[in-house]
Symmetry: C2
Subunit: 114 residues, 2 copies
C-alpha cells in the first residue's frame, strides 16, 4: 500500500501541451500496471490538445473553471467537482477559461500513459 | 462525452458494509467498460471490510480523516487530499476515525465492480 500527497509528486511539462503541467499520481512506478491516475494543471489560457486516441478518460475537475470540447466542436462549461467521461476514440479537448489555474485528475488504462 | 456532479449520482448501501454509502460516478452505465470510478461515504465509525481481492484500488480521499489498515494490520492515518494505491491481492481496509463523514473515490478495473 502506498500513500502520497499531490505536493510529493514530480511535475513534468508534456511536449506540445502549452501551459500544461502533469503529475503521475499513481502509475507503473507504484506498481499499478493496469490503471494510471494523472493530475493536470492548466495555466490561464491553457488547453489540452483537441485529439482522439483508442482509450478512455475518467476525469474529475479539482480546481477552477473550463470547458470541454466535444467531437462536434461544441463547448460545455465544467468546474471543480464535475466528473467527465470521454469514450475511446471520441475527439475531445479541455480548456481553461478561468483567471486562475484549471486542475483535473485524468485516469486512463495503462496503454494511455506514454 | 458525459459530464455529471456527485449530487446527481444515485446512492446505494452495499450489503455487509455497515455505515457505508456507495455511488458509481463513472461505470458501465456511462459506457466505461474498462475502468469504474466509485465514491464511498463512511459514516463516523464506519469501515470498509478488511479483505483482499485480485484487483487494485486507486483511491483519493475527498473528505475527512481515517486510517488505512495494511496486510500486517498496521494502521496509518490518511486525510482529505491523500492518494492511496492498494495492489492486487493486498489485504486492506479503510476506517473512518473522524467525527464527520470520511469520503473517498475508489477506482477499479471493471472486474472489481460487482
Amino acid at each position: 500500500m502506498i500513500t502520497k500527497k499531490l505536493s510529493e509528486v514530480p511535475i513534468t511539462s508534456p511536449k506540445g501541451y502549452a501551459g500544461v503541467k502533469k503529475q503521475v499520481l499513481i502509475g507503473p512506478g507504484d506498481g499499478s500496471g493496469e490503471i494510471v491516475m494523472r493530475y493536470f494543471t492548466l495555466a490561464p489560457g491553457g488547453a489540452s490538445p483537441y485529439h482522439t486516441h483508442p482509450w478512455p478518460h475518467l476525469v474529475k475537475v479539482e480546481v477552477g473553471t473550463g470547458v470541454t470540447v466535444d467531437e462536434d466542436g461544441n463547448e460545455s462549461p465544467i468546474q471543480a467537482g464535475d466528473y467527465v467521461y470521454v469514450n475511446d476514440d471520441e475527439k475531445h479537448q479541455f480548456k481553461n477559461t478561468g483567471e486562475g489555474t484549471f486542475e483535473f485528475m485524468c485516469i486512463v488504462p495503462r496503454r494511455g500513459e506514454a
